[in-house]
């Protein structure tokens, strides 16, 4: 392909603002010295400007605008309890405490004490394994990780480097992210059976910074690992599980299991569709026998988990 053909292929991408800075400069330099390409560029530019001036093709009527406003006003805030339920709960709660002669009050107090004792006992028993039993909403970091995982599955997040060699992936990230990405190569070192495949990596944007995205596959099931600086995100939300002095946050979002945590200045997210909490995805960095204890600590102890 001669230079003119290459440039002509790029003209439309230039006009759509889809070229990188280096390519834009190269095209502009060529146009300055090539009249036929410049003519073609002007024709294409004129065509696109004409089409773009034609918009908007349709305009919403004032009646539709009013209808949409009214529709939105009628929608209750997300996850808000219906007004009738709210009143019922308020009546129940206040009824328990306000009722005269202390009978109901003592009853309510007694029930509260029983609940509190049950909570403390339960906390003591399960607390050995899980410091926090409560569950919070998934964090933005966990949601972002699942979104990127899904996009990768839909081929909307192509890998920028394709390699099964951890050291090549680590080297590729050097200078692209403000931290060192070190991927363990345990399989090769141990001579064990390969339980997972490293596919490649790319950069993704998060909070106006680059994060490292690494794609794995285990038994033909994809696993995504995201790494960014802990200065940008502090993992939170979900179910908290403490193991080896690290707090892991487990969430299930859109059917995907995501585990987020921070360690030595970096924040991590692992996404998969593996069983239970997806704890087997940790194997991409912890395949050693001694690590199995650590992975088992993330395994759910009841059948409540999907």
């Amino acid at each position: 392909m001669n230079p003119c053909e290459q440039i002509r292929d790029q003209i439309i991408f230039y006009l759509d603002d889809e070229l990188e800075a280096r390519e834009r400069v190269s095209l502009e330099v060529h146009l300055r010295s090539c009249a036929p390409c410049r003519d073609l560029f002007e024709q294409e530019k004129c065509f696109l400007e004409t089409v773009r001036r034609a918009g908007p093709v349709h305009k919403a009527s004032p009646a539709l605008r009013t209808r949409i406003k009214e529709t939105l006003e009628d929608v209750p805030p997300p996850h808000a309890a219906p007004a009738a339920l709210r009143q019922r709960i308020e009546r129940t709660v206040w009824g328990s405490f306000v009722t005269t002669a202390g009978g109901h009050f003592r009853g309510a107090l007694w029930r509260a004490a029983v609940i509190l004792i049950a909570f403390v006992v339960g906390y003591g028993v399960f607390g050995r394994y899980r410091i926090y039993e409560h569950t919070q909403q998934p964090s933005a970091f966990a949601s972002m990780a699942v979104d990127r995982h899904q996009r990768h599955l839909r081929d909307q997040l192509p890998l920028e480097v394709v390699s099964a060699a951890p050291d090549q992936i680590s080297a590729w990230f050097a200078g692209k992210v403000p931290f060192k990405v070190e991927l363990p190569n345990y399989q090769e070192m141990s001579g064990q059976e390969r339980l997972y495949e490293l596919e490649g990596a790319r950069l993704v944007d998060y909070e106006n910074n680059h994060a490292a995205y690494v794609a794995y596959r285990m038994r033909n099931r994809p696993i995504s690992l995201l790494v960014t600086s802990q200065q940008i995100v502090e993992p939170s939300g979900g179910e908290e599980i403490v193991s080896k002095n690290i707090t892991f946050h487990y969430d299930s979002i859109d059917g995907f299991k995501v585990i987020t945590w921070a360690d030595r200045g970096l924040a991590y997210a692992l996404v998969s569709d593996l069983e239970e909490r997806g704890q087997q995805s940790c194997i991409v960095c912890h395949q050693g026998t001694r690590d199995q204890d650590f992975i088992r600590s993330l395994k759910p102890r009841s059948s409540f988990w999907k």
């Binding site: 024709q43 065509f47 696109l48 034609a54 093709v57 349709h58 919403a60 539709l64 081929d155």
Partner: protein, 187 residues
């Protein structure tokens, strides 16, 4: 509605995309009533799911994606019902251009040119007109369009190229459009 309502900020922001969404709804349905219903359905779905949207997400692109998914679901749901047949672009274009008033007092040539281009876009097959609208009218990037259409960016590029080629060939047949505008050769 007040500031205390969590839907308030969504309403304030999302209403600015109403014209764009209605235009896209018309692009998809080519029917005013259906388009208005689709816009309403889109806003309803969006306000219910707004709490799950990531803070740095592109709200406009997200709402376009919701609209397109809602429309696809509706088409699938009514697949057994009578459905319209996509007309050939030129034939449909001719039918639409016929509606544009050829009034001697009518507006400036520029406006006529604009009307005809709009009619030409409306006359394109559905896959072509939606991608022209998303890129050239709404200004979405290739990747944003890929997210909305749920397809690879490469598919966006190739389909956009074919759509523009088709539009160019339709516009080439119009007297009001200057030949320079169309360009002698497609890229």
């Amino acid at each position: 509605m007040s500031d205390g309502n969590p839907n308030f900020s969504f309403t304030q922001t999302a209403l600015q995309y109403l014209d764009s969404l209605y235009g896209f709804a018309m692009t998809l349905t080519r029917d005013r009533t259906e388009a208005e219903d689709l816009v309403q359905e889109t806003y309803l779905r969006a306000v219910r799911a707004f709490g799950r949207l990531l803070p740095d997400s592109n709200l406009k692109g997200w709402m376009f994606a919701i609209m397109r998914n809602a429309w696809i679901n509706e088409v699938r749901r009514s697949r057994n019902a009578p459905h319209f047949v996509e007309l050939d672009a030129e034939e449909d274009y001719a039918r639409r251009v016929g509606r544009i008033p050829n009034d001697p007092y009518a507006v400036l040539l520029k406006n006529r040119e604009r009307d005809e281009i709009r009619a030409a876009i409306d006359g394109l097959p559905q896959g072509f007109r939606e991608i022209i609208v998303l890129r050239d009218i709404e200004g979405f990037s290739y990747q944003q369009i890929a997210d909305i259409l749920d397809c690879p960016a490469g598919t966006v590029m190739s389909r956009l190229g074919r759509a523009r080629q088709k539009l160019r060939s339709v516009l080439a047949g119009l007297q009001t459009i200057a030949p320079k505008t169309i360009g002698a050769k497609a890229i």
